[in-house]
Amino acid sequence: MLKWVRKGLRAGIKTTGYPHTRESAPGISPGRPAAMLCDGPQEAGAVAGRCPTGALSNQGNMIRVDHRRCVHCGRCRQDHEHAMAWEGGYEWAGGRKAPGEMAAAFSRSLHIRILDAGACGACLSEIKQISSPYYNIHRLGFFITPTPRTADVLLVAGPLTDPMRLPLERCYAAMPDPKRVVAVGACAVSGGIFGPSFAAAAGISQCVPVDIEIPGCPPPPLALLHALLMVAGKTKQT
């Protein structure tokens, strides 16, 4: 066992400085399309039309991005004349409630329960990463808890497939008040490319009240951290 202790120590500290400092290592986030001005309404329409999920819409020259629908397919920036510019960053979480409602419920620690409502695996993989040494949520007082009975936050990924509706309802009901629901990824936020259909809903808000949405396909770990900090009241709303 000693060799493992040594190995752990030798590896050094990998943990990000976020939220105290900005993290800027390459590859932490795929980025996302940013709203932009085109030369003319027709060009704007053509660019917006390339989006297969309807995340882009144009008003005159302006292309707006509905990040809730964006699945990062990258088609808006692929070798066309008018490629959309993508912005970096990862502070993507957004609240669905007024800031006053969110504040002060949790200030010290947060216990997190994760529920897979039909996620493809990428969101879950990013959720797994938040407790790895690189992101290490424990240092912020966030913990993953095995049962909803002791959970403050429910992270839900996936478009909400029909068989997961009952487990989600039960899981939400089993959590004590006060509680928060975070929708992780485009699927959970809007149904993504899967919902609504005969088998899946258009996001989890059709079943439980969502407090915070993290768009992205998948949202990178730092976006998840941002959302959790938001729940804990340790960050300003974006």
Binding site: M1, K3, W4, V5, K7, G8, A11, A25, P26, G27, I28, S29, P30, P52, T53, C73, G74, R75, Q78, D79, I114, L115, D116, A117, G118, A119, C120, G121, A122, C123, L124, S125, E126, I127, K128, Q129, S132, P133, Y134, I144, P146, P148, G158, P159, T161, D162, P163, M164, P167, C171, I193, F194, S197, F198, A199, A200, A201, C217, P218, P220
Partner: protein, 534 residues
Amino acid sequence: MGPTLNNVLKFTDLPRMVASRWGDSLEIKIDQERQLIQITCDPEVLQDLCQWLFYRQGYSLATLIAEEAPPEWVMRYILYGDTGNGQVHVLTRFPLSRTKVPSISPAIHAADWQEREIEDLFGLSFEGHPKLGDFILHEDWPEGASPMRTAFDASRLHPRQESGPPWRPEMIVKTPGAFMMPVGPVYSDTAESAHFLLETVGEDVVRTIPKFFYKYRGVEKIAEGMPADHALLLAERFSGSSAFAHSLAFCQALEAICKIQAPPRARALRVLLAEMERLRHHTAAVAGICSSTALAVAASQTSIIEEDLLRLTCRLAGHRYFFGLNTPGGLARDLPDGECKKASEAAWIVLDKLKELHEMLRFTSSFLDRLEEVGSVSRKKAVAYGLVGPVARASGVSRDLRVAQPYAGYGQQTKFQVPREAEGDGYARLRVLFAEAEQSVNLIHQVASTLPAGPVRTAAAPTEGCALGWAEAPRGAAFHWLRTDGSGNIRRYRVMPPSFVNWHGFHLAAEEFAFQDFPIIMATFGLSNAECDR
């Protein structure tokens, strides 16, 4: 590693042998270019023929496809052989009014779940299959509604039965005191949703009853009528952890329909990217095994490597999970040579770290005790269940689509080995993962140092037709079968992912071991429910 003389003979001989056995009732077509034999037969000889191909000729079952082609049903059984043996498509047709099909699963157990799936989704009934009933659609799904029939409206949520009876499978362990231990569908960690009932008398799991498809998103159904490049999003995103392999198989199916080939540079880059995905996946699987045995430092160190690979992928491909890269006809974007070289160097460093980890794990007895001789699958069972990927290779079945049915840049240009272990236990699966990761880094290096120049995309015009695309995904053989109409929209889409096949055989490993071994065996299988459920 080209086709051996024997195999070539077998492939050319096969039509004659089939004809001599089953006479003129068959219609045999040979497509030399695609190495494909298409046999149309009566439903009556189906089981015999498939059994002969599977057990006597060594063909593996890829998938079963039911297709509604008024005025008849077309059932397509796709089998594939080793290098040079090509594929055999067995077709059988019968009128739409008929709903009974002879089952082949009494002979080929690998077809068991596939038949159950078709029974559930199409309302066809397989005669001779002993275990039909709720499978994909759970107990609250109204009887009689078959979502894969063309008449079914897939756009709206189908009304469910309000108070269906609770799921109560029959207990087959007939020992006093036996009971069922429910596990899931919501786990205590980040595991994917699936439900197991473990029949037990207290310590050992005697029988595993899995209930999957909590994550059924009906990908095959909602793809129908979509433009192909829109359906590509589904193929790419139904299993995010093996997105590149599945989008690759999908694109190759479309390319086969359009009768085009991706340019050499795209084919080479596809190998590079697919191997990077395999490397990432296997690293994550090792991390899962380490954390299932509560070896915290090893799990953390492996997840550091995993995150390194995710960041590397993002720098190289613009996305941490390879989304949006494959496109029919090639790649959506060219990757600069320099970046590929850097990636290959980074992969070497990752390999060094993995090797060091493997070396340390090999000498951690508390870790080995949990893996060795735990969760064993015999070679015979692995063949009967048609297992694929690292799981099958750990049980001595060394079939790998990259060798058996070369695609993209695999085949002549690249050299690699298919690792194989004989024991079939958890430790064998772990060793296969490490060995495959090494081969992947090897391949990345080969490709990055010999990247051909040129374009990365061939234009594809919408064509009507059907074809099979395949790829050796990180978890094993993945098959995507497509039928498009003249405007390039999808008419029928069939995905057979490796997780579906391997979950079918999971119970072989999980039984006769203690409860506490269950999560470890699950981790050594390294399967994805998203991939299985689609």
